[in-house]
């Protein structure tokens, strides 16, 4: 394992010190239990938007704390959901009297820990579970789909809704509309290495790729020979389009995401292909985001996320946001 770290067991704590120093203007970092707060929390009268999850997906979630997006993020150990005391502290420190919304990616660990936290706090808390990964077949008898890239537009749009003054019910309704309209799928050319594991999360021969991977180094749904960019993009896009489905005339946000080690030059190349395929189907890409935003340490690979837009979602997406990871409009 080659990493710029001191000790696998202190990676998250040390990274939090760096985040605190790097973004003191935007963020306050509580170290025990670990919580990243926007510097001006609590914002009176605003619904507090709180998310969290295992570390290793940066900038998700801490990089999205700030005006227009999250009020707090709870980082767990690497790829491990955070614990209820973190969420509890986050709620206490961000409670502006209008209640709080938990944004939870659909993993058993995350769901159970946020659920426990919701039972512990006095604040009026609602929870939205995001499960946008079409690689996983949903069914009543499974853990359901994972939450992946769709988490970013969810946090952005919901953050903007809270920012403009929507109450808790309204914020939850916006959140639900995003979840209902967002779909993602990812692939990997090489696995990430979790510091305390010390070896890649899965072994992938030089001529194979994993398709339908999650963001925690879980192996994907299928392993297959490596394809070129045209092939990869089509293989990610097709199941997304079929699932919702997205059809001719739809307006969408296209989010082309690097899993970590895939460089921007490849990502832009893939983005261009995805735009062309969507144009061919008469789907209008109205907004786009390209970059490493919902990552999996140094995993090599990419994901595509499509969100079906309406005027309100466009307005909320365009609204100002001022975070370490996403910033526009102010």
């Amino acid at each position: 394992m080659k990493k710029i770290i001191n000790d696998p067991s202190t990676v998250v704590a040390e990274a939090l010190r760096g985040i605190e120093l790097a973004h003191g203007d935007l963020l306050t970092v509580i170290h025990d239990p670990a919580v990243i707060l926007r510097a001006d929390a609590p914002v009176q009268g605003k619904v507090a938007i709180i998310s969290g999850g295992g570390a290793g997906h940066e900038p998700l979630h801490g990089g999205f704390v700030g005006p227009g997006m999250l009020d707090a993020a709870c980082p767990g150990a690497v790829f491990t959901s955070p614990t209820p005391d973190q969420m509890q502290t986050a709620v206490e420190r961000t409670d502006g009297g209008a209640g709080a919304l938990f944004i939870v990616k659909n993993y058993t660990g995350d769901v159970l820990n946020f659920e426990t936290a919701a039972e512990l706090v006095e604040t009026d808390v609602r929870t939205i579970v995001i499960d946008d990964d079409v690689a996983v077949k949903d069914s009543l008898y499974t853990a359901g789909r994972r939450g992946v890239g769709g988490t970013l537009p969810l946090e952005k749009i919901v953050g903007a809704a809270a920012d403009r003054g929507d109450d808790l019910d309204a914020v939850l309704a916006v959140a639900q509309r995003v979840v209902d309209n967002v779909r993602s799928m990812g692939m990997a050319l090489a696995a990430p290495t979790v510091p305390h594991v010390g070896e890649p999360s899965f072994d992938l021969p030089d001529d194979e790729m994993e398709v339908g991977i999650g963001i925690h180094g879980e192996p994907g749904r299928a392993r297959m020979p490596v394809e070129n960019a045209d092939g990869i993009v089509a293989r990610l896009l097709e199941p997304i389009l079929e699932d919702l489905p997205f059809t001719e005339g739809d307006r969408v946000l296209l989010f082309t995401n690097s899993m970590g080690a895939t460089p921007l030059i490849e990502l832009y190349l893939a983005h261009g292909i995805a735009e062309r395929l969507l144009a061919d189907r008469g789907i209008t890409v109205e907004r786009r985001l390209v970059g490493p935003y919902v990552t999996s340490l140094e995993m090599q690979g990419m994901s595509l996320t499509l969100l079906k837009l309406d005027d309100q979602m466009v307005e909320l997406w365009d609204a100002p946001v001022q975070t370490a990871g996403l910033r526009w409009g102010r």
Binding site: T80, E115, Y141, T142, A143, V194, V197, E218
Partner: protein, 205 residues
């Protein structure tokens, strides 16, 4: 000759040692069909439990179990944190008034623990989770001494864990793999068996 708070602390220390010893094995099992953190998470949790027990010296079996529960809940994270946390919490409640635990108390505690895991995680038998070790353990947990109950439970848990190998996961992170999850033991079932075995071994001394 029942199990006192001090006996239980001894047993928990043995559990912590077992978890530390099997840390890498549990990581590898989880790496195969999950995200490779199960051993690390439990090890971190039980190390924190030791610290908490050193600091607090709880004076009843129920208090010991509650310290374990709250520490696991706040230190483990992942799926296993709330599940094992709830298990210990329900076990604590089940034996709330006892000064020493007898065989029947242990059966009650195990039954309550299983109830907690199922209530929280909603897994059924055969979903390839820790329930596949804990459920048969509870069914097998009979005997007229604490040692006998735990030994029977551990044996059943071991068989239950083994039996998860061919299963296709329907709950937890392994379920994302679909058919590819078959052929590997469920890490949580394995850790459940290890915990029960450690308890049984201390009780047999």
């Amino acid at each position: 000759m029942g199990c006192t708070a001090a006996d239980l602390v001894t047993a928990i220390r043995a559990v912590a040692d077992t978890v530390a010893e099997h840390r890498v094995e549990l990581i590898q099992l989880d790496r195969a069909i999950g995200d490779g953190d199960h051993g690390e998470n439990l090890d971190r949790g039980f190390k924190a439990v030791l610290t908490a027990l050193d600091a607090a010296t709880p004076d009843s079996p129920a208090a010991v179990l509650k310290t374990v529960a709250t520490t696991l809940i706040s230190k483990v994270g992942g799926a296993a944190g709330p599940l094992y946390g709830t298990a210990f919490l329900r076990a604590s409640t089940a034996v709330k008034d006892r000064g020493e635990l007898e065989a029947a108390d242990v059966v009650e505690a195990l039954t309550a623990a299983l109830g907690g895991v199922v209530a929280r995680g909603k897994a059924e038998l055969g979903d390839k989770t820790m329930v596949d070790a804990l459920d048969p353990a509870v069914k097998a947990a009979t005997g007229d001494s604490v040692a006998a109950v735990l030994s029977a439970a551990a044996d059943a848990a071991e068989a239950g864990a083994e039996a998860t190998v061919p299963l296709v996961a329907r709950k937890g992170r392994a379920s994302y793999l679909g058919e590819r999850s078959a052929g590997h033991m469920d890490p949580g079932a394995r850790s459940t068996m290890l915990l029960l075995r450690a308890f049984a071994e201390v009780a047999a001394r």
